[in-house]
Subunit: 253 residues, 2 copies
């Protein structure tokens, strides 16, 4: 069945990648028009994914690859001991489900942090396209390598930096990603709670809270619950870039 061409269109509800406002962020821009057309035919555009709904669980066999169109998503893994390890946050344009690429089963889980819309590509359709297009394979390799680089960055942040630096980097990273999506980089709302931030950064809730308060006290940011305003971007960057040598050494160099 072709994407429904009747019924009411909601705001921002496109039916073709070519019209999509996210096109410049989406991997669809990297494949050739023929393949994109074919993609269009198999994409399921889904909306109304509500807060705390799971896109997939770890261990589950992959049903689709998805691109986030609006909202935000938390990726996490569950350790043998049953506790959560937050591995990242997805924003519009990000691809969700690459973790199932090797085994066909998702390595981790993904859950909506707020109301979300998605473009879903069924795996069998996608695998068929992969088998025929080396170009698409390359794009996927690139995406995986990027996730890898991200994981490595996180490794550095979580394992080796003090709390203040971790939080500064988190805020700046988020700010930069929002900016690339055409949103205000200095005034935004955190869709995840303190627990998720703490877990992601390898800290406790209390430390995250204290650090945010301290940054506010120092006039670097303004925080009010989930709302954040970056007041002194330069100062924040300096904290993040470790320009001062106020961090643990941990056998570097």
């Amino acid at each position: 069945m072709p994407p429904n061409s009747e019924g009411t269109d909601l705001a921002g509800q496109e039916h073709s990648c070519n019209d999509c406002v996210l096109f410049s962020l989406c991997f669809a821009q990297d494949i050739n028009p023929d393949e994109r057309e074919r993609l269009n035919g198999v994409i399921r555009r889904r909306q109304g994914v509500h807060r705390s709904a799971h896109l997939h669980h770890g261990g589950q066999s992959a049903r689709q690859l998805a691109v986030l169109r609006s909202g935000s998503i938390k990726a996490y893994q569950v350790s043998r001991e049953g506790d959560e390890l937050v591995t990242g946050f997805y924003l519009p344009g990000d691809v969700i489900g690459l973790d199932a690429f090797s085994t066909g089963e998702h390595a981790g889980s993904a859950v909506a942090l707020e109301e979300c819309r998605l473009c879903e590509i069924p795996v069998n359709d996608f695998n068929k396209m992969l088998g025929e297009s080396p170009r698409l394979n390359q794009v996927m390799l690139r995406l995986l390598a990027e996730e890898m680089a991200e994981a490595r960055r996180l490794l550095l942040v979580v394992g080796r930096l003090d709390a203040r630096t971790r939080v500064a980097l988190f805020l700046l990273s988020l700010s930069r990603r929002l900016e690339r999506r055409g949103l205000d980089p200095d005034l935004f709302r955190l869709s995840m709670d303190r627990r998720d931030i703490a877990n992601y950064l390898g800290l406790t809730i209390e430390t995250v809270s204290r650090t945010l308060s301290a940054l506010q006290r120092d006039g670097v940011i303004h925080v009010r619950g989930k709302n954040v305003r970056i007041v002194d971007r330069r100062a924040l960057s300096e904290l993040a870039h470790l320009d001062e040598s106020s961090r643990p050494q941990r056998a570097a160099g």
Copy 2:
């Protein structure tokens, strides 16, 4: 030029993947015989890579993909501030150079920790094969996904566990990898120095040293410089598996 068919062969110096003692560990087992034959034609078998020689540097454009045949290699990245971040250690059978897959440039550096032998596949040959074999693409995706999983594991280890658990996990991981290669899992030599271990685990040299001493005092292992013997594997596993709740909580669950 074909791989030299005259000259003296050194011990363990094969000229075909089919004869290679590492075959069961190598990704070459996962491709079909035709492709493997073709691989054989382009592989450069290199030896005499001596300690502290670099295979590649971060930022360098990739010249070849390599499989380690003997020895061991340290992978690391250099941060903007110039200090080192050890991301892993390669053992025989491991593929080196996947980090250049997306951009064509190596994300990190790789340096020999001792005398090494390698199988090198020139990138242009390899890319040609990639363009023609979806199967090979899949194998590469799987390898990348495995590196990814490894990076995630490390993230958990480095960011969230206490020193004792980190060291225990490090020793067990190494032990398991050696065992899979047919070596003694309980008696081995660390090819990396304390600095590298500390950096890899996100600790200081002193803490690593102290922790090893403590494990010895508790009768779990025996250490003498770079030589390690696992005395009580069960105890070590219990430390690593967090069976006791003696670790920071850090917003889990």
